[in-house]
Symmetry: C2
Subunit: 395 residues, 2 copies
């Protein structure tokens, strides 16, 4: 069979309120080939990625993403590798490509799995997969009590690992930051696991980060994420010497395998966090996970979108038991949660497992997708370049 259509849906919360809604928008990708349909999701900047699919070709290294995919043979995994390579060549001068392609790559795996009646990990040849302990992202509350309450609620739902951050953390008020961490730790209880996202608060200043090291040790923080700007490699190296490489994490913005390998090889970062919807899809994420394993470094997914994306992320590293955590979106009020019918729920041991179902194993909730889908029209010289496709004929 051949790739016959790439349909794009721009979804947006109609009356978005940043205080209420954790996610504002997304770009869903539906691929059709033969009698099959596959779904994927792109992070971030939905409309810019959408335009990367539908733009007329510019010069020979600046073609649309679709141009290298539509009409291509899709029978086995090597076809997806070949399509990836075609897209990389045709879009060498289209910066948005990795974000746009990630969603279609997921959809190609989903579709091929459905055709072969196999979960995606099997298409990669994995004999066994391993459950991951979920950690949930929790912004600090405005008070320690609010932080406690947020985490305690999750604890009651079986979540024993939490990543905290933001809310002014790291700006130098050590007393107040200590109270926040203390509240978080208390809410998690005895076996709780705590991580911090520093959200680049110390820019390029390792001394500012260093003064927090005793506190990080006191609360047994398992990793510190993005203490510095992504380009502050010297600061990363310095902190790595005092704090330990295996407790420094970064990488969510990475959008190529080469960039990820460089980050793991040339910096003081010990855990790489890869967003499957940004890095180029499951194949790219998987190559990075394999590289991290080979270097005895850490790997974890970065997922702030739907359980379709979460499923794609897990198929990239469920074969590697040493990477035993996963970032786990569980906000049931979000657009991201609602657009899926199926969610990767915790098993009896509190772990998250890939579905043993064809493809990614997640059915979209078409009514919810319809609810959020926006009417978009792009026309050039009076001719339509893009118009939101109908959802009705979806299987």
């Amino acid at each position: 069979m051949k790739v016959e259509a790439i349909d794009l849906f721009f979804l947006q919360v109609p009356d978005f309120d940043p205080l209420r809604d954790p996610v504002k928008d997304t770009l869903l990708v539906r691929v059709r080939a033969g009698q099959y349909v596959g779904w994927g999701e792109c992070e971030a900047a939905p409309l810019v990625s959408l335009m990367a699919f539908v733009t007329p070709d510019s010069h020979s290294t600046c073609r649309s993403v679709s141009a290298s995919i539509l009409g291509q043979r899709l029978e086995d995994p090597s076809d997806i590798a070949r399509i990836t390579s075609l897209v990389q060549q045709g879009c060498a001068n289209l910066l948005q490509m990795p974000h746009a392609f990630s969603g279609v790559e997921m959809a190609l795996w989903d579709l091929l799995g459905k055709k072969r009646q196999e979960p995606v990990y099997r298409l990669f040849g994995d004999a066994a997969v391993f459950g991951k302990q979920p950690y949930v992202v929790v912004p600090f509350g405005t008070t320690p009590i609010e932080t406690f309450t947020r985490i305690h609620k999750l604890h009651g739902r079986g979540i024993h690992a939490v990543k905290v951050g933001w809310g002014g953390f790291g700006h130098g008020d050590l007393k107040s930051d200590r109270e926040q961490l203390s509240a978080a730790k208390e809410a998690l209880g005895q076996n709780g696991r705590l991580f911090i996202d520093a959200a680049q608060v110390w820019k390029d200043d390792p001394a500012a980060a260093n003064q927090y090291v005793p506190m990080l040790k006191e609360f047994a923080i398992e990793w510190l994420e993005e203490p510095f700007d992504p380009t502050a490699l010297d600061a990363y190296a310095t902190l790595s010497r005092t704090y330990g490489r295996h407790q420094i994490a970064a990488g969510e913005n990475i959008h190529s395998v080469a960039e990820a390998k460089r980050l793991l090889s040339k910096s003081g970062i010990g855990i790489i966090q890869i967003d499957c919807g940004r890095v180029g899809g499951i194949g790219a994420a998987r190559e990075i996970a394999g590289f991290a394993a080979h270097q005895n470094l850490g790997y974890v997914n970065h997922t702030y979108t739907s359980h379709l994306s979460l499923s794609a992320s897990l198929h990239a590293f469920s074969n590697l038991p040493q990477f035993e955590l996963c970032e786990y979106p569980m906000d049931e009020t979000s657009l991201s949660w609602k657009i899926c019918q199926d969610h990767l729920l915790l098993d009896s041991a509190g772990l998250v497992n890939v579905f043993d179902l064809p493809g990614l194993g997640v059915r979209m909730d078409i009514e919810a997708v319809r609810h959020y889908t926006q009417d978009l029209e792009i026309s050039l010289s009076g001719k339509p370049v893009y118009r939101t496709p109908p959802l009705e004929d979806v299987s």
Copy 2:
């Protein structure tokens, strides 16, 4: 004054023929502040960059490019640095940003120069500027005679430096490749200077490149451009040891200062080629040129677009006399040539100089811009997000 408007124009050759037209399309940016207007040009993928300006904001590190520019104070050069920093923060997850921002950055300098009645290089504090010897890009002909004829014609117009490439060069037929170089050298005459763009023909194989080294030396090729894929850093390092670092050039696809510094520091590349319309504008290009000078390495512009872009490129390194070459687009039949009223023509010594005029010193040919401008409409939920703005009120 404040930045009041960013107007975007998508230009396309109406009946594009790749055999006839060297350029298919472009994105022009017009910025307005107070009574002033500035112009800039983005490379590449015009519609994708256009969408990066007009998209509604997604999350906090994924805002539109415009959101961080419109309404900002624009009185002196530090405002442009501040705006650049705001855009980098607001668009940390908008991959297309550097290509989109490059054009508006040029336009901000153009506008500020017009207000101050000073050329852009003076806004950077340069006391003196130096002319550059132009080299022109010439694809090999299908026969050595055709190559000779193409270059001989340029020679008659005062061009004594040429960069050749493509047409199957480097695929292993050394005899035929030798004949092509011989024809090029003959057409250029005694003081001719010859460069080769290998267009990544040897992928990651230094041995394939190495067999060409005797020929490159025989014809005194001054540099070999992009012998390998951009990620094949080991191949670059190997060739660098046999052929010499100062004769290996690359970098046209670079889109950040950090990436450029890394390429110059960690690879076997001795000459960096920077496209001002891709790298983030004049400020970014200038920082890279300064870094290259400091490391005793080479710098040259990559310009395949209009003389507006050429002017912007030159303001980034005209202060540095050691970088004595410039890539020079001179195809008068191209869209790129026609959209400008003013062109940077060769002086009596055969050199190209920046205009000593306010801003970038290049007036757009509004009739030509109108001829190529396409009607584009983007609407979301029935409301217009973008519509090609009128050209009439341009100054």
